[in-house]
């Protein structure tokens, strides 16, 4: 874990692939008054991983652990993209040219713009390149 302000703690939750599991996670977060900014589900055979950016990751982690879930913090970065054709290309090319590998990614696009959330193999380097190119990264403080 680094002190870099652009590294965001995402919560990742192991979930069996059966009805009701997402509801159980979401309900726990509701009860803790945890707000979800972005979220994705990755699925494999029989199980999945739910990933979310939330306003209070510690709280979410504690509650889900208490409920018996396998929960981990994962470092990700969030880049603001131009919400128009070529926005994603711009960011992806930047990282590709720098030799930074994207392990997974998800995005949201709302009234205040589009945001790409990335887990990369070398986050510090990615941050440097993105900022160097004049792109805006979202700081972890934005969420709390």
């Amino acid at each position: 874990m680094t002190g870099n302000e652009f590294i965001i703690r995402q919560i990742s939750v192991f979930s069996e692939n059966r009805p009701g599991r997402l509801a159980a996670i979401a309900h726990a977060l509701e009860e803790e008054r945890v707000n979800i900014f972005a979220f994705s589900i990755a699925e494999a055979s029989g199980f999945g991983v739910v990933r979310a950016l939330v306003d209070r990751p510690e709280r979410a982690h504690a509650r889900l652990t208490e409920d018996g879930f396998n929960v981990a913090f994962t470092d990700v970065i969030a880049v603001r993209m131009r919400d128009e054709p070529g926005g994603l290309y711009e960011v992806a090319r930047l990282l590709g040219d720098a030799g930074v590998n994207i392990e997974y990614s998800y995005a949201y696009s709302g009234p205040d713009g589009a945001v790409l959330i990335l887990r990369v193999d070398r986050p510090e380097e990615a941050i440097e390149k993105i900022r160097g190119a004049g792109k805006e990264l979202i700081s972890s403080a934005t969420f709390t």
Partner: protein
Amino acid sequence: MSHWNPRFEEMPAAELDRLQYRLAKTLAYRLYAFSPFYHARMREAGVHPDDVRSLEDVRKLPFMYKGDLRDNYPDRLFTVPHEELVRYHVSSGTTGKPTVVGYTEKDIELWTESLARALTSIGLSRGDVIQVSYGYGLFTGGLGLHYGAERIGATVLPTSVGNTERQIELMQDLEATAICCTPSYLLHIGEVAERMGINLGRDTSLRTGILGAEPWSEGMRRHIQEWLGIRAYDIYGTSELSGPMFTECAEQRGIHIWRDLALIEVIDPETGEALQPGERGELAITMLQKEALPICRYRIGDLSSVMVDDCPCGRAHPRIERITGRVDDMLIIRGINVFPSQIEHVLLGLPEVGEHFQIVVDRKGTLDDMLVRVEVRKEAFSDKIADLMAIQKRVADRLKSVLNVAVRVELVEPGSLPRFEGKAKRVIDRRVL
């Protein structure tokens, strides 16, 4: 290490041979005279008690089977009048219809005696507080150990099964030094204690676990001993023998079978032929002094082997290896014999997954399909799907190499598989044959 009953525990092998022969011959006559069922079976086999002229001749006597007890439900195998009975126990019927066992006063006495010797051989005595977390009631575990523990002058804490948090509180408050339960229930107790912020080894007086009533492995013993900081001993018995009867001594080298109480044989489950010491097969047990429900060459369905080498404890009573499975627990998957204990053993060697598991067997077309569900440990959880799939593959590969049959593995959430307070039921067989 002191002996509860030095006369029998220190008896030399040659003298035990003579004693066993005498008791076995008496049993044969008793059955011939008082058991219409066994009388008929002896006639069918063309054997008369007079034919038992040596200890080896016991092998001429016909076998008894679990089905015989069920077929003669509830009491047609009893050989004493009902007014001689002081108690009934009824088996849990995990593998079929329940069976009823009756006890005379002497039956209870010898059962208690057997356990008094066993508990003493572990090192327990007056001053110990023994928590009996086996079920009390129709099941033999609770009452059997209760009587045995009282007999040696220990203090019994009869918590029975269930209400685990209260069990842990009482264990702490009353300073229990030993616990008797199934290994899976002890794991459950350990998990609940951890959630309560209690480490059994550090925060309680518990030093000894006497575990049985379901098969468990050597790996599980190591896990329990390291995790909970106690010494874990194997106990063996079933209701037909009276109940839990025999345990390991402090050496933890197999379960001593008191030769004045029981004669143990290991046979080939297919042919019924005697196997050599060290060879694994089905146990056939003769209870030499049981009165109400005599048991002769009873094929109990448990798989083990007998060890006759000297135990450092000095007792000339043979030991059986831990039960590695039951003939009727055995799953046949695509023609290959699979025992749930093998799966437990594999999982204990894989730090990424927990020790609880569930087996689901189904038939896909004409092929058997076996699915093993395991819990991913917290420490092994990775946010990356590829890492999780690698765990899944590692478990499947290891299982395949041990079982010689391909297995599908499903990763499930920690704590989601059923925990068992009594006997674990880990197999769901959905095949319609």
